[in-house]
């Protein structure tokens, strides 16, 4: 087992860890951030697997655009919540 294998295995362990914790975390914001980390790790794994096209795309789409959409959604949800609370009072 050489160094690159060790690197790969540690990345895989991180990937698994972040995947599970993104699903199990209660706080949505934390969960999104972990998901972003998951995407970045995934793109590194793909770069190591000799698929540079995928690494670029995943970094831009998974870590970039998906996460931005998730954050805006969260923002929207909070706005709606605030509005409805305002209406109540």
């Amino acid at each position: 087992m050489n160094l690159s294998d060790v690197f790969m295995i540690s990345l895989l362990a991180l990937l698994l860890l972040s995947g599970i914790s993104a699903c199990l975390t209660k706080n949505l914001l934390v969960s999104f951030i972990i998901f972003m980390a998951y995407s970045v790790i995934m793109s590194v794994v793909w770069a190591l697997l000799q698929a540079p096209d995928l690494a670029i795309t995943e970094a831009a789409v998974g870590a970039g655009i998906s996460s931005v959409l998730l954050f805006i959604t969260l923002k929207k949800l909070r706005d709606i919540q605030k509005r409805s609370e305002d209406e109540k009072t």
Partner: protein, 127 residues
């Protein structure tokens, strides 16, 4: 068997992540968490697919110079398929998130079962 599983460790990790995403998508009640589960499930399938294309000691399938010997490069087909898949999954994510916003706007909760009961009550009240 354990030997093969250790050799195919990337596939094993992909399977584990797939199962985590799948059960989140199926069983979690929070809609946004379901969407995260969906994304994780999809990327796990793509990881599995990408790992098929890798061949030990070979380079990415971008031709260097005039060297077109297939035994020097990795398999380009899985990468192409995954590229397609990633775009599909980001579209689906955007659609699901839009649905979430609409649903939250109407029912003020993300818990799907609560929403279902509210809708049921609404329907009975309307009669």
């Amino acid at each position: 068997m354990l030997q093969t599983l250790w050799e195919n460790r990337i596939q094993c990790v992909a399977v584990l992540i797939f199962a985590v995403g799948f059960s989140t998508l199926l069983l979690h009640r929070n809609l946004v968490k379901k969407i995260i589960g969906l994304n994780i499930m999809d990327t796990a399938a793509y990881l599995f697919l990408t790992s098929i294309g890798y061949i030990r000691g070979r380079l990415a399938p971008i031709i260097v110079g005039t060297d077109t010997d297939p035994s020097h490069y990795a398999n380009p087909l899985p990468a192409g398929l995954v590229l397609t898949g990633i775009v599909v999954s980001v579209s689906v994510t955007a659609l699901m998130l839009a649905l979430t916003i609409r649903l939250y706007d109407q029912y003020h909760t993300l818990n799907l079962d609560e929403i279902y009961y509210m809708a049921l009550r609404e329907q009975e009240g309307g009669q």
